[in-house]
Symmetry: C2
Subunit: 118 residues, 2 copies
DNA sequence: CCATTAGTTAACGACTGTGTTAACTTTCTC
DNA sequence: GAGAAAGTTAACACAGTCGTTAACTAATGG
């Protein structure tokens, strides 16, 4: 519940790019090497590395421990990555339901409620 | 279910700004005038107008019909505004659950499942 | 009409994000 | 140890964003 605005902005911003969303989906299927992502997305390793940095800074993705070959870096989706975004969306949904109810009340008995939220 | 990547990018991008998220929340409480939003957020009318344009182009907000005073423009949150975002988040949640299940299966019976998603 | 009000748009400057090319680090392999 | 492989980082060019100031549109009120 306690999430900062900065955190939220970073998460939404990171998800505002199609390639990065695709990366998330690929990493949700299974953890993958950086190079593997670059191949899947047909993107240069440099470009992909920067996208990874964005996702890392947003806390959506993390680099897990070394494998046999210490050159390769394997990335995964962070467990609680989407909690801030989901919490915010849930709040929005609640507010929306409340406004809908206000309309409904007004429709059923206009003069009693007067206008919605004076 | 059928949402375009462009649409998604626009929505996430629009929500990646703290002021715009605040605007959404204010508009979810009740429809408001543009100037009212500017006052609430302590922002110049010009700056706010541009934020409104971003939200409009993302389909999150719309300008509803004229009131008594035709100079004022009243904005509301669009009903199906957050559907693409919520759908995408739901997909992510499903994929996450699936990966979690794969881990669980592997932990319970390592050699039968071999490795997750070869 | 003329001034005022509500709001948007245009133009400028500062800042940020993105892809490319090039250089660099670290690790493996022979 | 030399060279290749996997990634990251640096430097550049370019486009997009954001706020401010100024100009503009449209409607109201005397």
């Amino acid at each position: 519940m306690g999430f900062s605005e900065i955190e939220l902005s970073a998460a939404f911003g990171a998800l505002s790019d199609t390639s990065r969303r695709q990366m998330i989906r690929l990493l949700l299927q299974k953890p993958r090497r950086a190079g593997e992502l670059a191949e899947c997305l047909d993107m240069s390793p440099q470009a992909l590395s920067r996208h990874l940095r964005v996702l890392r800074k947003a806390g959506l993705v993390f680099e897990q421990g070394i494998e046999r070959d210490a050159r390769v870096r394997i990335y995964s989706v962070h467990a609680t990555a989407f909690q801030p975004v989901q919490d915010w969306m849930a709040q929005v949904e609640n507010l929306w339901r409340r406004q809908l109810q206000a309309f409904k009340d007004f429709a059923e008995n206009p003069r009693r409620t007067g206008r919605l939220k004076p």
